[in-house]
Symmetry: C2
Subunit: 410 residues, 2 copies
């Protein structure tokens, strides 16, 4: 057939889509960031804008580009910049008690790329995966787009419900089905704020090993503890290569750096690495972070802990003052989130437009679940909104909830 | 089953892998970047280290972080930083003659994330995809890991062979199979250096439309033309939403920025966007690039063109002087690569260790093909090696090739 110029109709994109794209459907997660400060926004896990270390990063950038601009602006190693890897290994040893070496680690573009790479490496359409639920909404979106069968495990005050997990693993085992992984947060779980007790950590690890699967321990909020004692990372309790540990600089140095990491058994890291064709992750930012991290992280985190501790307490006090009777909420030892359960009759999604009209926004619970539930729940982030706007914001949410109840719409 | 602490054997990672991970197999593409300057390296499409705009980027970073550090270090829009989008839309209009709007564009982490996202959005295991071949080795790796049936189309001096393409599309059509896309470079093709004539561009577009598929026009080297006149981007010839245009700052501002873009029909961009859960692409770098681009790109590109034009000519002269009889090579009008075809009896992969021992490295042809071919071909990048090392490097390759021929090992 000789090429012919002819007027074709518009190309039918829908006919060309993958199963994954058809399944995803939803719009983009983050939009209109330019306008996000216009409301009192309790929606996202955004750090405090005023605490971002802009002048330190500027000074570090100038130094780094003068010393090694030829490397910082060039392609980078697949595993990530070696200087940042070494700085992170030292930080993980010092703070997390995690012993790892260069064979164990990959730098990723935040936790998002880490999850994407793990899903690419482990999951085929129809595979079983296990996750505590509710969970990080980015993970929910990523899990859903893989076409995996998502097995949800509830959470209580001590973290993932290991009895429910054992039951589900037994059920899968009886069906000859090994889940590809179990996903969990041990510290200040997103969104519930729950921290796993040491016993839970041990039980979860034992169940993971019994099931012959991997545990993905996502520890995005590790550095931000306000109460209580540090507990060992599950990764550090394991000697069987059953745990992949995820971390990020998004909650400390800043999300704009888009830098996170995966620590795991070398056999897995090698496999993930062969699917990581990215020219090096964020080489410029990685060089800057490598120089910033060793001296600057700890004092910066100490400042952040004060800010967020205070904001958590402000929000807890405001909830106490303004929520309608029958409302409960969690008291997190760290992290960014309080998880609120409103009286059952309230639909948090339906009341959101009223709150928005009054200048406040929050995350309706269903975004944190892979199935349709959590209608009367909301996730409140206390990290992003300035101190003096927390109380007014919570008051508005309380008022809207009370009027929902009064008007019997609920 | 109650949780039990027991000593399990090492977790069997291999049993948990996806098809994709098992298929990929190969090691990481980029390793040991710290040591890459120790050899005369013609391997990679790396820009000239000395030309990277380190001091400009430092100054811009300081300004940007002072003005809007709260945004540059925060999460960003899914589509990319709006300031960078606007700067790129202006650049695309001015330089590429591409009219696009915010609905048409996504910022990506270089061309790599752009390809990954397109593959996620379009390709299921076993789908047919079409690519000119040889091609960019990153694309080869990414294509192979999808489990797609890769249909290879040869290239001649005028670009993709449209007769061969028409035959393959007919064959697929007869089998009821619509390929998910056709992948091609119109300018200074990687690795052959070929530039498509205007007629080829039109023919390729017509064939794409007839087949009801998408053309992925990857134009990474657009700005770096040393000879001849600019030809219109295929994207700008299309009015049916059949073309996705890819570009990158890696070859101009620097690969360390990890910034590229996708321009395409809004219906496709929306779908890609819903699979792009990344917290915003490289927000920090994007803010810096947004300020650098409007005033700095053109003068910087003018400087780069002089450097690379000179290096291309140095390499062509050296090839003329040192290659054994029966060797042919391409003369690219732009870009980074010369594609060398050695006498058929030579195995470029086998002779590589000898060249490395003598301090030189190049890319053996097979890395640029999805099937096993190109044994007597090599890709030479003239961009990375300093002027005075090009001639000595080529002489070594010529000597090794000649000795291969002499010793009858070939």
């Amino acid at each position: 057939m000789p090429p012919q110029t002819q007027t074709s109709p518009e190309t039918n994109i829908e006919a060309l889509l993958s199963r994954r794209a058809r399944q995803a459907g939803g719009g983009p997660l983050l939009q209109g960031m330019d306008r996000v400060g216009q409301r009192i926004s309790f929606i996202f896990g955004f750090p405090d804008p005023a605490s971002l270390p802009a002048s330190e990063v500027a000074a570090t950038t100038t130094k780094v580009l003068a010393e090694r601009g030829h490397a910082a602006l060039q392609y980078g190693d697949n595993a990530g910049y070696s200087g940042l890897i070494d700085a992170l290994l030292a930080k993980l040893r010092r703070d997390q008690g995690i012993e790892a070496s260069r064979d164990n680690i990959l730098i990723t573009a935040g936790g998002s790329q880490a999850i994407d790479l793990l899903l690419d490496t482990l999951v085929d359409w129809g595979d079983a995966i296990v996750s505590e639920m509710p969970t990080w909404l980015g993970a929910v979106q990523a899990f859903q787009s893989t076409g995996a069968d998502i097995v949800s495990i509830p959470i209580d005050a001590e973290g993932i419900d290991v009895r429910a997990l054992a039951r589900e693993l037994d059920r899968l085992h009886a069906a000859g089905n090994t889940p590809k992984f179990i996903y969990a947060n041990a510290n200040f779980q997103n969104p519930t704020g729950a921290t796993m007790s040491l016993q839970r950590r041990k039980d979860l690890l034992a169940l993971t090993r019994q099931a012959g699967t991997l545990l993905i321990e996502d520890d995005a909020y590790f550095d931000l503890r306000y109460d209580g004692q540090r507990l060992p990372a599950i990764y550090s309790l394991d000697d069987s290569g059953s745990v992949v540990y995820m971390g990020t600089l998004s909650k400390t140095m800043g999300p704009g750096m888009r830098l996170g990491w995966l620590v795991g058994p070398p056999s897995l890291i090698r496999r993930v690495s062969s699917l990581k064709v990215d020219g090096g992750t964020n080489v410029f930012g990685a060089h800057v972070a490598a120089d910033w991290l060793p001296e600057r992280l700890l004092p910066h985190v100490a400042r952040l802990r004060k800010v967020y501790h205070r904001r958590r307490d402000l929000m807890l006090a405001a909830l106490d003052r303004h929520m309608p009777p029958g409302t409960t909420w969690t008291v997190p030892d760290g992290g960014f989130f309080i998880w609120v359960t409103l009286p059952e009759a309230i639909d948090a999604q339906r009341m959101l437009p009223q709150a928005q009209e009054l200048g406040v926004e929050y995350l309706p619970g269903p975004a944190c679940y892979s199935e349709a539930t959590g209608q009367n729940q909301i996730r409140l982030s206390f990290s992003f909104v300035a101190d003096d706007l927390i109380e007014p914001g919570i008051r508005i949410i309380g008022d809207v909830a009370k009027s929902e109840l009064r008007e019997g719409r609920a």
